[in-house]
């Protein structure tokens, strides 16, 4: 039996394997868009052939962070905004794992914004799903980084004076090599995008519009949505950075005018992932580091033999 025999195992995976046998303490409200992310993931993971025990799902804090309670894989429910640094280190330690990170818009674009920028910049081979509901849900309805300008809440009683974050543009500029937006109301597209994102070799960012029926009642249910890759009204090349930027800008502006544009906005299949870059400069081993600790034949190096003579 190898050390990590769940990894790379050839077998049929049933989507029920991702469903915990014991119903967790319920957190999500009826009608919450988060259920759609869960469902799309349960569909996507068996299709890409990654089982619960070769998948590590790292989440942040907020309603979205409870994804770990509903999706039965190896999980790390981290702290607010910090799912990405935990996730990318796990990927470096064991590149054979399927690493997925997830969090809300406050988690990813607010408190964790710095990590988001740098993880995208480095192009780690992982998927990052941002549950974007334009609100802080778990803390009961405060204005979030993606709430529209003028959004009123108990923490912004006069209406927010801030322009919202533009997540797709930010992601592109930071260096993500796959950028998409989907919506909870569009399960088929969501599944397809998640499959592509997981299979993409690099940092895949999916901005997932998840309606909040409790705290963002006024907001749209993100319908009707338009798939910019399908619609005849839009014509752009998602592999062209300039055209992608233009399309993203239009998408981000139109969201606040009631038009929900979704789809794949940028795909760069040529950029090597961070792990590949690091291996190319000789700073990351070819074999997963995590395997070495189980290799009885490995001769562990000693500082005494390797580094001390220069001190003599």
């Amino acid at each position: 039996m190898s050390t990590f025999s769940a990894i790379g195992e050839e077998r049929e995976i049933d989507r029920d394997e991702y469903t915990p046998g014991v119903e967790p303490q319920p957190t999500w409200c009826p009608g919450c868009g988060d259920f759609s992310v869960l469902k799309a993931l349960k569909q996507a993971l068996p299709e890409v052939g990654r089982s619960p025990e070769e998948t590590l799902l790292c989440t942040g804090i907020g309603c979205s962070g409870k994804l770990n309670s509903y999706l039965d894989t190896y999980g790390f429910h981290t702290i607010h905004g910090r799912s990405l640094p935990v996730a990318r280190a796990a990927k470096l330690a064991n590149p054979d794992l399927e690493v997925i990170a997830a969090g809300g818009d406050g988690d990813g674009y607010g408190i964790g914004g710095n990590h988001f920028i740098h993880t995208a910049r480095e192009n780690h081979d992982m998927t990052y799903i941002v549950f974007n509901n334009e609100i802080f849900g778990l803390t009961k309805g405060q204005t979030s980084p993606t709430s529209p300008k003028g959004h009123k809440s108990k923490t912004q009683p006069s209406g927010s004076a801030k322009e919202p974050i533009k997540p797709l543009s930010m992601s592109l500029n930071a260096g993500a090599s796959y950028v998409a937006r989907t919506a909870a109301v569009n399960p088929n597209q969501a599944k397809e995008i998640l499959i592509e994102a997981i299979e993409h070799d690099g940092f895949a960012h999916v901005d997932f519009l998840t309606q909040c029926p409790t705290w963002n009642k006024d907001a749209r249910q993100y319908v009707p949505y338009i798939d910019v890759n399908e619609s005849d009204d839009y014509d752009f090349d998602k592999t062209d950075r300039v055209e992608a930027a233009e399309m993203m800008r239009e998408t981000e502006e139109s969201l606040y005018e009631g038009e929900v544009l979704t789809g794949r906005f940028y795909v760069d299949e040529d950029r090597p992932s961070y792990g590949a870059e690091k291996q190319a400069i000789g700073e990351m081993p070819e074999e997963p580091l995590a395997e070495r600790y189980w290799d009885d034949d490995y001769e562990w190096e000693r500082s005494h033999d390797m580094f001390l003579d220069k001190h003599a």
């Binding site: 769940a6 025990e53 790292c58 894989t73 640094p85 330690a93 064991n94 995590a290 600790y293 562990w300």
Partner: protein
């Protein structure tokens, strides 16, 4: 103060090669058979600003800087700002000479670069020299170096002059230069060394040196090593193959050494966006089954508070190092202090479940780096190695045999897939990663990718499978179990005994200290006993879990205890009292927080004034006495 020692101080501007020159000279002295100890003083600047390094060399063991010094090589600051005028910084060019006179011992030697420095600019220089019986040698080091090639090699000329004036053979210095210098600059440097040496011997009568180099012999191979080196090698020998960090003085040294070496070991170093990420990466790598570390200094470590708490709650093994510098806030970035003690003990919300070790010497730094990893992985708890700019940067000789030990890459209580199959699981196959009743509170873990091992790690309170749970019974069981680990670690540490004791067992008085002041305290204890004062010392390394029994026994065995530490508020004394719960009337403090570590004489004088004479004030020193409760 022993006469049979050379304390050589080389001073110049940042960028003048003070650090590398002093390191090579220290190594040459070590190779000649002497024990050496270095002390660095430098500003937070890239170029310019007065900096010096002291090299103390003796045939006796040296574990501290000395009192003052006896040989000055003043190069002058070639990167000085406003050399010609009085600016807010003063005339910087002259500082490497003018600023070092106060600590030069009577009868000491001054060599200065008259190519750069004009001693007549220093008020009363000649009178002071005469008064103190200093032997002054103005030499045009710059001109000499320029004639042979490059002005920057004037530090080599200074070393040649030093050798000539102290009666030291050039052999060891030449050997070292051959080892350390690239071909291109080696020849001119060797030439400059020889010419300076010959010139001084020609022009001056050096047959009876004013200050001479002692002779000594080592019976085994010695290494010149800093605390930062030792911490790094300890980590490597304990199987650490992952580090993440963000640059910050003085922690950068460990980060740099690890980063340089890890690729040679098939390991990974990550320089990341901030210290929150750095600590979180270490947690992530450890969770995925790799031995991992991170670290920082004061302000950067503050950012690690939250990931530290996450590691405690998820019981993810991780080692963090904290290289203290003078605070608060940005404080004095290049100056040592021990005032992050409470920060490191208590930062992060909730009840702390961590290990904090503060090594006292370079040897202990290696040892305790290994212990920190072993405890972290065996007990699934974060371990913090607390040290400071002093221990991190000072270099001393350590026998090579000290490091001749087996590596220990084990992950602690981590289950194989076979073993996992026999462990409790929930009905749907989730592994009980956080079982309530387990030996020493340590519940064995699995690694992502293992069959039969899936669980949830979460910063929320959780049930045995890791799922969020807030029932009172589960809460009490989990927090009691996690806390129980600290008792087991205390018992474990009792078998290792990281404490360092000096002085006679039956001494009347005691000195308590922690971390990097230990060597200086021990030298002071030696001198006090030589002077007929009955005193012993205990250098404590285990900050958490605290060795309450051992410290209590020490305090109980003496009449009075002076607690020596580099803080302004007596943090270590507070920790002692918190753990002992009494003896407040027996503990007084000697504090220093001016940016420089204690010299042995400051402790000797401070002890005599405070404990023997009882009036508390040691005149002439920048130390502070705080009396015992009730005094």
């Amino acid at each position: 103060m022993t006469d049979d020692e050379l304390i050589w101080r080389i001073s110049g501007g940042s960028g003048d090669g003070i650090a590398s020159t002093s390191q090579n000279f220290a190594k040459a002295l070590m190779r000649s058979g002497l024990n050496v100890f270095t002390h660095r003083h430098y500003p937070s600047r890239i170029r310019g600003g007065h900096t010096y390094t002291e090299v103390r060399a003796s045939s006796d063991p040296v574990n501290s800087r000395g009192d003052g010094y006896n040989f000055l090589l003043a190069l002058g600051d070639s990167f000085a700002r406003n050399p010609q005028e009085e600016a807010v910084y003063g005339n910087e060019e002259i500082k490497p000479l003018s600023e070092n006179l106060d600590e030069l011992r009577e009868g000491g030697v001054i060599v200065y670069d008259e190519g750069l420095l004009d001693a007549s600019e220093i008020p009363d220089f000649e009178e002071r020299a005469e008064e103190n019986d200093w032997h002054v040698y103005p030499l045009d080091l710059r001109g000499l170096a320029r004639d042979q090639g490059r002005e920057v090699m004037r530090n080599t000329a200074g070393v040649g002059a030093t050798c000539a004036l102290t009666g030291m053979d050039l052999d060891h210095v030449q050997d070292l230069m051959r080892d350390a210098m690239p071909e291109k600059i080696l020849e001119p440097n060797l030439e400059i060394l020889q010419i300076a040496y010959d010139q001084v011997r020609e022009e001056h009568d050096v047959d009876a040196p004013d200050v001479s180099v002692p002779t000594g012999e080592h019976d085994e191979t010695q290494l010149l090593m800093s605390g930062s080196d030792a911490i790094s090698y300890g980590a490597i020998d304990e199987g650490c193959r992952f580090i993440a960090g963000y640059p910050m003085t003085p922690w950068t040294e460990v980060f740099t050494i690890m980063t340089k070496n890890l690729p040679k070991l098939g390991g990974i170093s990550e320089q990341v966006e901030d210290e929150i990420a750095a600590a979180a990466l270490a947690v992530g790598a450890s969770h995925a089954g790799v031995k991992a570390m991170s670290g920082s200094s004061g302000g950067g470590f503050a950012l690690m508070s939250e990931p530290l708490g996450l590691a405690e709650m998820t019981e993810t093994p991780v080692v963090l190092v904290e290289a203290m510098r003078a605070g608060p806030s940005t404080g004095m970035p290049t100056k040592p202090e021990q005032s992050d003690l409470e920060h490191v003990l208590y930062t992060s919300q909730g009840d702390s479940q961590r290990v904090v070790l503060a090594p006292g010497t370079v040897e202990e730094a290696y040892e305790q780096s290994r212990i920190a990893f072993r405890l972290a992985y065996e007990y699934q708890i974060p371990s913090i190695l607390l040290y400071d700019q002093k221990l991190g940067g000072e270099m001393t000789n350590v026998p090579k045999s000290h490091f001749d030990r087996e590596p220990n890459p084990t992950l602690g209580k981590t289950l194989s897939e076979d073993a996992l199959a026999d462990e409790p699981h929930s009905a749907d196959g989730k592994f009980h990663r956080f079982q309530h009743d387990v030996e020493d509170g340590v519940s064995p873990r699995s690694i992502p990718g293992q069959k039969g091992g899936r669980f949830l790690a979460t910063g929320n309170e959780h049930d045995p499978t890791g799922h969020i749970a807030e029932s009172p019974d589960n809460r009490v069981a989990q927090i009691d179990r996690r806390t129980q680990k600290l008792e087991a670690i205390r018992a474990d540490l009792d078998t290792v005994d990281t404490g360092s004791y000096a002085g006679p067992d039956d001494a009347q008085y005691g000195i308590l200290t922690f971390g990097s002041q230990q060597g200086t305290v021990e030298e002071a204890v030696g001198r006090l006993n030589d002077a007929g004062v009955s005193v012993k010392s205990y250098g404590v390394s285990d900050m958490l879990p605290f060795p309450t029994e051992q410290v209590e026994a020490f305090v109980e065995s003496v009449d009075e205890v002076l607690v020596v530490e580099m803080t302004a508020s007596g943090q270590f004394r507070g920790l002692v009292q918190k753990n002992l719960g009494r003896y407040g009337e027996r503990l007084s403090s000697l504090l220093k927080y001016n940016g420089n570590p204690f010299e042995p004489a400051e402790i000797v004088d401070g002890f005599e004034a405070a404990i023997i004479e009882g009036d508390g004030d040691a005149s002439g020193h920048q130390t502070t006495f705080v009396p015992a409760a009730g005094d």
